[in-house]
Subunit: 214 residues, 2 copies
């Protein structure tokens, strides 16, 4: 497949297709038309066809997509046919919550280590991992060929930690710190700014109020 530039908007929609197709598969459904998929996902059928055309269309021949095939293909496009080694930086509540979330492992996301700068946490077991001091991070990343670092640390330390990570050859940062990171462009960053998300919810609630519950 040609590696043409695919918009981030399309890419952001792929996991949602993958999720719905997984559910259809679990329900034993073998084929689905773009119109049926459109009805359950609440996006237009033409949007679905356009999105899939970015990847060659997955060959709907008048009688629908093969659910199994489509699920596998989108999984493969997302890179879920490979495993990815991850570390968590910040062993607070959020770091522990992510470490304990089993569903990630099923998708090939393997948590290999967890780090914190609080000595009281060192040695504490979180699943199969012992919390390690931040000083050991660089060596651990290199020795264990870690692909992705999950940042669940306060924003004050996020900049310096991401600079250190950049020098280790890490490939991606999943950033929960409430700040935008500045890293070389060969490192992919995906932000989860929880406060931003909550503020957006608040705005939408209040704008309904102001319209007199339209």
């Amino acid at each position: 497949m040609e590696n043409k530039e695919i918009s981030q908007a399309v890419i952001a929609r792929l996991p949602r297709y993958f999720r719905y197709l997984g559910e259809l598969k679990d329900e034993g459904i073998e084929r689905i038309s773009s119109q049926e998929l459109s009805d359950i996902m609440k996006v237009t059928a033409s949007q679905i066809r356009q999105d899939f055309n970015n990847f060659g269309g997955f060959g709907q021949q008048g009688y629908g997509y093969k659910v199994d095939f489509l699920y596998e293909e989108i999984g493969r496009i997302l890179g879920l046919d490979r495993t990815h080694k991850m570390i968590i930086i910040g062993a607070g509540n959020l770091g522990q919550a992510l470490a304990n979330y089993m569903n990630f492992e099923r998708r090939g996301f393997l948590f290999k280590g967890i780090f914190d700068n609080n000595p009281e946490l060192w040695g504490r077991k979180i699943r199969a991992m012992e919390v390690k001091p931040m000083e050991e991070m660089e060596e651990f990343v290199k020795e264990n060929e870690i692909d992705i670092a999950v940042l669940t640390i306060p924003k004050a330390s996020a900049a310096s930690v991401s600079e250190r990570l950049a020098r280790t050859g890490i490939r991606g940062i999943w950033n929960f710190a409430h700040v935008d990171l500045c890293v070389p462009e060969e490192i992919q960053v995906e932000n989860v700014h929880l406060s931003d998300s909550l503020m957006k919810l608040i705005y939408n609630i209040n704008s309904l109020d102001d319209d007199g519950r339209k």
Copy 2:
């Protein structure tokens, strides 16, 4: 102000403006031009002016925006000048992480209760809250005039819980369950699908690889 329809894309950017303006304010900066704001936020100056024009423009008169004023105004637009009462449904790791995140309270997001259907957790203290049984949820929402429910439960129970919530008159759901909810349109839903976000990161990492580290 006229309540014209403002696109979700603009609304999604407001918290980020708010965050950067808060930092400028903390640094003691009083004025900033759209060009300077553009440089630090890495969006175009014309995007910034267009976004702000949705709210009347905030009157940049050739010598920049007043940081303080802009910060207050965007906070007011987002509804951060009011308090919002919240409950958490699901007292697992993620629910506890959110309950313990102090920054939310500073913005007027007040956690009032936390619920779980696991009897072993009932009565356990998380900050000032005791975990309560799910059976008490409806009455609690009504008595305490709860605005927002945070769903940190598995996807299997998310549909039935959100139906129960819809009948209580709740105004918003902040949904961490890995499923899209189906609720009446007067209830605002904001999704945080963590797996989707991680898959997007994986895709971006792999597409760099496929291009031979472009």
